[in-house]
Subunit: 492 residues, 2 copies
């Protein structure tokens, strides 16, 4: 099996698909639009989960679990939310199979076992969770409720791509309930900062924090905050969202609490989520034509050691050295793989670990053992050098830290180079077509203009950055007055 | 809200249901047979997951994720498995909702969006996983495949009970592929030992390791190994199973490998799983009429500290002491909660933490601060004593260890007292009715006898213990010869 992949320049989309499959991250399954997350990909996801989960708990949240099925009547209680997801719902209608008399040995749906009320496979859990919160909340003393759920959800998307858009995906969804509007808004903002922290400091992906326009809001939200990342093909990717839901779900499910003055009030809500889509962002931000580039903090294997030898005695020498180095690295919580498989040649191994994005490779040859050296190769820059064995573990530790910073800086520089201010629609279109990236432009604030620009250019407003400066200008499309720039881009 | 619960003697089943709800572990949802796992219950499950996951990885397994949906044609490929689960399948038939013109504001299933092939919500994942393994396995070099999945599954049970039997539950399912029969059998045995280790050393639940009779086997397995626990009402509970699947799934999905001699062979398989049902076993094994009793290794809060004071100055004194103690305990990785809520009285707090099974309670009163003492209360024995503050953290650490051992010993003594050898069917029935527990009896080895005994007594063969000694005897029911005793019991 060839491990080489299409280059980004040849066909970015094909490069991505091949990389995901050849690096053993995920693959399509026999179920339309559903993926299999393979062990290597899942190991990255587990590390990402652990980083997120730690931060959720540090900010006072607890995990819980709610049913995967949402009775249709619950689902449609909050109308905007229901409408927003209606077109992509998997619906359970029956609960039993029986033998098919016309096709011996086969089963068919038992029409007698029809459910009285259809069940929706959750596309998101606001409805089922708020129908539960109703019973949990009576008094201000029951608030806030700060809950997160790790779960699978299903959205029947017509055009799917591994990690980026799949019919079933894994995610976490936070659902919180608060006594006041201010507290709910602060919660939604806090969780956006948590997401940005993980994106930037763990995934090494620079993100723009911003607010969605009304058109782009989550169905049922009053306000949607987002982190937006930029891929190497100049397209943006929404990497996480945090929603202020106002009292919409509280009203839909009649969730009230008695405040300190004894008065009944509707509860305020937030929800926030990130998904296995982040894996797509991770892959597309850093990887190159040789394969994955992983930030050391998420790499399942941080260091791989490949021995090169001719005799058993040489191998025994290398083994001794590797055992000691491995112990030292493990004591530093650095994960290391000694690839001494006798079924593959070193060149094959180099290519494989490069494809899989292992940040640091050590090559330990028989001559190295004589010279007290090894070859140290760095995945992100594809550079290598001969270094002393003395102090090697510490050197590797420092190098992993440096790689983590370095790939962030590289992605950050690319992103900064791809935020372009434009002042006319011609310029807008030209930048979008030739350079890509975020186009920073004045917009008149109407959904109508937003829609027309999308029709003409396929670009959408990714966000109104939170740190936006006020600036008087005119909409690039209509010439109407505008008080701030917003970020447009083509997006995943 | 009253926190007191029905006693076990009054109504064991009611005691269990009330305990699960009042201790905030789980509750029924608006979806038939599906539960909500509340944060306190989920925290216990997370700890249990971590213990299992650590052991799966230590034995060479990796986690992955496969689709929740199984196309009907895949599902029915292994006939025994399909038949075994056909009566309890949730079936997805449509993928879209639309506005219901007859009921404005409501949605209905869009009949135009009917799936070409129905999808089964996985009741277990052998079918979807083996349809995938087919593409992963060509050569003996691709084996073994050692994969585990943490997932939700759905079995449309008609009579459900929180944790013990729910339409949706959480579990892990290991699915492994091997070159030889011997290796697969060894894998199934190894995982049974892992389950027994976690049950006994983490959950403090003594288990009998055994083999299921053909009647009680997993649908599609050649051999099912089980760990069987005994609840306080004398009923057994199957706590985990590990299956040797032979080549059944490999044949159903045509999964062959080329062996070292270049010959094509079918692959050998195992699967093994434990679920949130273990939560039910945990609750029923140790808890008492005052509430939960949790083994320290799974308690989300291991130590709770309740202050008793009249003045602010007294409170400040206690706070200083508690801060220091908490720091010391946290350094020992002991989780501690300082319950200084001013909304509840100490008596209420005592009852609440007793109900929630916190293993150790410290009461820190104003006079204690003068005397350099505290009151130390132990949940499992409901005993308390006044102890010196000096060396308290270490004392608590030792006590947690002792409690872990002690509740295991108590459960073990109960279990040992409830394995009764009988030599006639009258004795069999009498022991079952008056004492309960495991009845150790000779059986003629036929499914017919097994079935008749079940009809007459509701007892099933829980297992043929792995460490069974050979003993010549005669079947208690038919008088036919038998070479060993098996364990019967009524079961959950």
């Amino acid at each position: 099996m060839s491990k080489s992949i299409t280059t980004r320049a040849e066909d970015y989309s094909k490069w991505y698909n091949e990389l995901v499959v050849k690096a053993d991250l995920a693959e399509n399954s026999g179920v339309r639009g559903c993926m299999v997350i393979k062990p290597y990909g899942y190991a990255i996801w587990e590390k990402l989960q652990a980083e997120l989960d730690k931060r959720f708990k540090a900010t006072g949240h607890q995990n819980a679990y709610f049913p995967i099925f949402v009775p249709k009547s619950y689902f449609e209680a909050e109308e905007k939310n229901a409408e927003g997801f209606a077109k992509e719902c998997a619906v359970v209608t029956h609960y039993r199979l029986k033998s098919d008399e016309e096709n011996p040995g086969k089963l068919k749906v038992d029409e007698d076992a029809k459910l009285e009320e259809e069940l929706i496979v959750r596309p998101t859990s606001e409805a089922i969770i708020w129908s539960t919160y109703k019973n949990w909340i009576q008094s201000h003393r029951d608030l806030p409720i700060l809950i997160n759920q790790w779960a699978n959800v299903v959205r029947w998307e017509m055009r799917t791509r591994l990690f980026l858009r799949t019919a079933e995906f894994l995610w976490q969804e936070g659902h919180t309930a608060h006594a006041t509007k201010e507290e709910a808004i602060a919660e939604a903002e806090q969780m956006l900062h948590v997401y940005a922290d993980v994106a930037e400091n763990i995934m090494a992906i620079p993100v723009v924090k911003g607010r969605k326009t009304e058109t782009e809001r989550f169905a049922g939200a009053e306000d949607t905050l987002t982190i937006e990342a930029l891929m190497q093909d100049g397209k943006a990717l929404q990497a996480g969202t945090s929603h202020f839901l106002g009292q919409n779900f509280a009203k839909a499910f009649d969730v009230k609490y008695t405040n300190k003055e004894g008065k009944q009030e509707y509860v305020w809500a937030t929800s926030w989520g990130v998904s296995t889509r982040l894996m797509g962002a991770l892959i597309m931000t850093h990887s190159d034509d040789s394969g994955l580039v992983l930030p050391p903090k998420l790499a399942p294997i941080q260091v791989v050691i490949v021995p090169i030898f001719k005799t058993e005695e040489e191998k025994a020498n290398i083994d001794r050295f590797v055992n000691q180095l491995s112990d030292e690295l493990q004591d530093m919580n650095i994960s290391v793989r000694y690839d001494d498989r006798d079924t593959h040649r070193p060149g094959f191994k180099f290519a494989e670990w490069e494809l899989k994005g292992v940040p640091v490779r050590i090559t330990a040859g028989a001559r190295d053992m004589q010279n007290n050296t090894v070859e140290l190769a760095r995945r992100d820059t594809q550079t290598k050098e001969t270094v002393e064995q003395n102090g090697l573990a510490k050197r590797i530790q420092d190098l992993l830290h440096e790689i983590q910073q370095s790939i962030y800086q590289k992605a950050f520089a690319y992103r900064e180079n791809h935020i372009t201010e434009v002042n006319s629609f011609d310029e807008f279109k030209e930048v979008l077509e030739t350079k890509g990236g975020f186009v920073s432009a004045h917009w008149d604030g109407t959904a109508e203009t937003e829609e027309k620009i999308q029709e003409l250019t396929k670009a959408t407003i990714r966000c109104i950055p939170l740190d936006n400066k006020e600036e008087q200008g005119v909409c690039v499309f209509t010439g109407k007055p505008s008080a701030q720039r917003v970020l447009f881009a083509k997006a995943y």
